[in-house]
């Protein structure tokens, strides 16, 4: 009985039924058979959902439509900036998904007709679906900072979607003179990877310390605090020179928060000068991470609310605006879960189980979700935050499981922090394999 899974039971049921007729059926509509799922976007959420639907019910026809041939993970991309890892080490393709029987189409989705249940692409193709899963990640609010748009971002990278942007920023850091200034502008909430800008600060500081020790980092932040706040501040202080009591004081890292005038209004690309309330800051390398909203297709498909994100039912991730369309990952409003890769992976599995159950004519199963997020401050100093989530049926929303989760202890224990770093790498290996292999 040990391997008597639901899937095997289903197969056994079908086999028995077919055997009983002494007739053979090529395919007939049973369970999810012949049902079509189209996944828009092959990032962490989309790829996970596609793979897990096929694992849960191999009779469902699953197509992923993704513009790019390769996916670069945002997580661990800060280690590419410091030179601790190569860009190639965060690159993943789609052959693994194909082995699970997922159809991969490299095209750009331009529209979704929710009434006719058809996805349309720039290439002129149409894909009909029984259920559609939309996972487009984030887009930027280019209007937020005067003088900073998609064109300017080619030379002043955001590097908040990994790949060529990561490569550009790395190249600029490598080309910077010792004694130069790196200016970073984190976004307002909510945004993809809440600890990301502060891990990036640490990784760039680590690179400077090893190669350009006279250099400095100025963070112009529109916020008063951020994820893993205490852990990052003490980590910056321990490794690189930062004064938590006087964040604008001497030391490699200066953090100018909203109260100190860190909110940025404009950028002059010609002189690489950022204008904040506190004054003008000229950088040798500038990294602006603009405020964010749901990916473009979420808007054209009419899946967003007035704040620019997609409202969903947390049990199924079905859009509360359009039936038969599910939204997962960064674009979705899945509070209290953060916009992280692991959250997208976890949501994708809950969504996949719901989609499979609904295609088979049943109700969505009881969900369980998790998030773990690692940051590496410096070699041998990893930190993490974790949380387990459940679905509150009566309130109809995702909730944190009381008593679970939390941060790495603030007291610095070198042995524990070294282990956290190794577990961070293990998480990277396992989640990328869980998504793409």
């Amino acid at each position: 009985m040990s391997n008597f899974t639901r899937r095997n039971f289903l197969k056994a049921g079908v086999a028995a039924a077919v055997a009983g007729t002494s007739m053979s059926y090529g395919s007939f509509a049973i369970g999810g058979a012949g049902k079509k799922v189209v996944v828009v976007g092959g990032g962490i959420g989309g790829a996970t959902a596609a793979k897990y639907i096929r694992m849960m019910d191999p009779t469902v026809d699953v197509t992923v439509i993704e513009a790019n041939k390769d996916y670069y993970t945002c997580f661990m991309s800060n280690e590419v900036l410091s030179g601790e890892r190569t860009l190639d080490s965060i690159r993943f393709g789609y052959t693994g998904l194909q082995k699970h029987g997922v159809n991969i189409v490299h095209d750009m989705v331009t529209g979704i007709d929710a009434d006719k249940r058809v996805v349309k692409t720039a290439g002129g193709d149409s894909f009909s679906y029984d259920r559609c899963i939309v996972a487009p990640g984030i887009d930027f609010k280019w209007e937020a900072i005067d003088g900073y748009d998609a064109k300017v971002a080619e030379n002043t990278p955001h590097a908040w979607k990994a790949g060529s942007q990561t490569a550009t920023l790395r190249k600029q850091l490598e080309g910077m003179k010792d004694g130069g200034t790196f200016v970073m502008v984190p976004p307002t909430n909510p945004f993809r990877c809440p600890p990301g800008p502060y891990e990036r600060t640490a990784q760039v500081a680590h690179y400077f310390q090893q190669n350009k020790p006279k250099s400095s980092i100025i963070i112009l932040d529109p916020k008063k605090k951020f994820s893993k706040f205490g852990l990052f501040k003490s980590g910056w202080a321990r490794h690189f020179g930062f004064d938590p009591e006087n964040p604008n004081g001497p030391g490699m890292i200066k953090w100018i928060n909203s109260e100190a005038g860190g909110t940025v209004s404009s950028y002059d690309a010609g002189s690489k000068t950022v204008t904040a309330k506190a004054g003008k800051f000229k950088g040798d390398v500038v990294n602006i991470i603009p405020p964010q909203k749901a990916g473009k297709i979420a808007f054209s498909a009419g899946l967003t609310n007035d704040k620019g994100w997609c409202p969903i039912d947390g049990k199924t991730f079905e859009s509360t605006i359009h039936k038969n369309i599910h939204v997962i990952g960064d674009s979705s409003i899945s509070k209290p879960m953060p916009k992280s890769g692991y959250a997208a992976n976890s949501q994708a599995k809950v969504c996949a189980a719901a989609v499979v159950a609904m295609l088979q004519g049943g109700g969505a199963p009881t969900p369980s979700y998790v998030n773990t997020c690692y940051s590496i401050i410096a070699p041998g100093d990893g930190i993490s935050v974790a949380m387990v989530y459940a679905y509150d049926e009566s309130a109809g929303k995702i909730i944190k499981v009381k008593g679970s989760g939390g941060l790495t202890p603030s007291e610095f224990d070198p042995e524990l922090r070294a282990r956290e770093q190794q577990y961070a790498y293990s998480w990277f290996n396992n989640i990328t394999s869980d998504v793409f292999k």
Binding site: R6, V370, A386, N429, S433, D434
Partner: protein, 200 residues
């Protein structure tokens, strides 16, 4: 209309099978819970390493005990205590059953052949009685950990915790650990871990 009645029967069978699997009790299914572990422990609990252990095929009682120890802060961990606190007793049991039914896959890792050979001899002398002939006990009733083919960094951490007293061990294991330490020192442990890690 033979075809359609067969189809109905099949649908009914599947429908029943499905509801039985999904709605037995009100909590999440084993697969639903198990899927949350995959990001760190690998799809179906088979870890790609280097440090997170594989949990596929772990003995049911061992799994329950480990989760309870994490939950009650009785085991030295980085993150597992924080995560284990998110699951109820029933959920831990469901999860344990799910992983106990999965196939254990030994890790593919580089090892030192000479050290592994020395380790094999030490295993026979000091560890075999509880951990089985090769590092996985055949006796389903005992609660010894699975060592053969487990990730080396994880075993290194575990051993360090035993040695430093951060993790408690039974009387028998304590005796053996002290004996290895006395007879062979740290090298003895290193050889043992190479032996376990070398088993593919």
């Amino acid at each position: 209309m033979k075809q359609s009645s067969i189809l109905q029967t099949a649908l009914l069978t599947c429908g029943l099978a499905f509801s039985a699997a999904s709605f037995a009790g009100s909590g999440p299914s084993g697969a639903m819970l198990g899927n949350t572990c995959a990001g760190c422990h690998g799809t179906d609990g088979v870890s790609n390493g280097p440090a997170t252990p594989s949990i596929a095929g772990l003995d049911y009682d061992y799994f329950v005990e480990a989760m309870n120890e994490f939950k009650e802060d009785k085991r030295n961990t980085t993150i597992m205590a924080r995560i284990a606190k998110g699951y109820s007793k029933a959920e831990i049991e469901t999860m344990s059953k799910y992983f106990a039914d999965k196939e254990y896959v030994r890790a593919n890792q580089t090892t030192d052949a000479a050290a592994a050979k020395r380790g094999a001899k030490l295993h026979k002398k000091y560890c075999k009685n509880c951990h089985g002939d090769t590092g996985i006990s055949e006796d389903k009733d005992d609660d010894s950990g699975m060592l053969a083919g487990q990730w080396k960094p994880y075993m290194t951490y575990t051993l360090a915790d035993y040695q430093s007293g951060k993790r408690e061990y039974g009387k028998k294991m304590g005796k053996k650990i002290k004996k290895v330490q006395k007879d062979l020192g740290d090298k003895g442990f290193a050889d043992l871990l190479e032996y376990y890690a070398s088993q593919k």
